[in-house]
Symmetry: C2
Subunit: 216 residues, 2 copies
């Protein structure tokens, strides 16, 4: 097992420096914050993943067979990006983002991929990785964090349309995994909400989701 | 009809100065942005109301019999507050906020109420008021806007728990208006989501909503 593999297995590794800051200052609040996680020093990858804060511990649950799961297991780190772009959310769920959509942050000699669209980001070390069923569980220790100044605008007021894109995406991934028709009803409900409350970007995002699912 | 009543009726009034800025810079994005609207120069009132931007026009649809509706009709102005406090959202929906929860902004000799919890706010003049069915429709022209520096932190990442409090609140008001049992199913669904994804504040908010509705 390589030194990098150890990173995900042991809390004692001194491979990366320690950091002590409050991740909520970068927008990652309890209990589950829906971020887009970027991984992969060489070939970056991005996927929507919830950062969970419970009983004083920060952790993630990642689908084992996914590229993110493989990268976390191999490299022992991930970057959680706070993003409010509904189209990027759907694209990151169902397709591979372009290399040009990432910036690279040099940390301890390695290239951490950060999404250019991020409002803020937190790079984490993943420790104590273990697999349960179809999931990879890893505790997260913050390494570094930052804002992307060019994206730092006023906090957008709550938008039920954006929220509905998020819900529809969650149900769509479950539908793809299980084929359970109950999810179709949810997705159609949220599509209506997007049409009623969302802006142009939210409508574009739900159209893409419908294309991916081959819905009409 | 007083000069103030005219304000809500006519676009030609020169009572307030004109302003030309982009409300999206204060977090109010299309198509419907869920804000908490504060009104009432003398006795401030607050209620969750969507600010609608459609075909180049900004407008609101307010329940006619409400305090907000009365104030808008009488005073011809409102303040839209961008707020991410789930408990305040539920409290403003079902009860009267304390006077101490408002600050007052002096504009043209009048005291515009702004929520202390607001991240940002936009004061609007309401023009062309008309009633359709149970709603009061008014076009909104921006007067002034600002941020509350003490609340200006990182944009919180999407939280399905917060979003679920918002959805539950919408369904709860419809349930109170109509008594239609279909809304109960929705509310219970969103309560589950709050328990799973929300932080302490979201859980407190859904507990309050359950108390208001006398649910268990």
């Amino acid at each position: 097992m390589s030194e990098l593999n150890n990173l995900c297995g042991s809390k004692e590794s001194k491979f990366f420096f320690k950091a002590d800051f409050d991740i909520s200052e970068y927008g990652i609040l309890p209990e589950i914050c829906e971020t887009i996680v970027s991984t992969g020093f060489e070939t970056p990858n991005a996927a929507p993943i919830g950062i969970i804060q419970k009983n004083g511990t920060t952790f993630v649950r990642i689908f084992k067979g996914s590229q993110t799961g493989e990268n976390v297991f191999k490299e022992g780190v991930l970057v959680a990006n706070v993003v409010y772009d509904p189209l990027l959310l759907v694209r990151a769920t169902f397709s591979k983002l372009e290399l040009s959509e990432f910036d690279f942050l040099k940390l301890d000699g390695r290239n951490f991929p950060v999404l250019k669209a991020a409002l803020s980001w937190v790079a984490f070390r993943c420790v104590g990785c273990k697999t349960t069923g179809r999931a990879l569980l890893a505790e997260l220790l913050p390494l570094q964090a930052g804002f992307r100044a060019e994206n730092r605008k006023a906090t957008p007021g709550p938008n039920r349309g954006f929220n509905a894109v998020l819900e529809a995406t969650v149900h769509a991934t479950r539908y793809q995994l299980t084929g359970d028709e109950k999810y179709v009803g949810w997705i159609r409900h949220y599509e209506e909400l997007v049409r009623k409350c969302g802006g142009e970007k939210e409508k574009e995002a739900i159209n893409l989701l419908y294309n991916v699912l081959d819905f009409e």
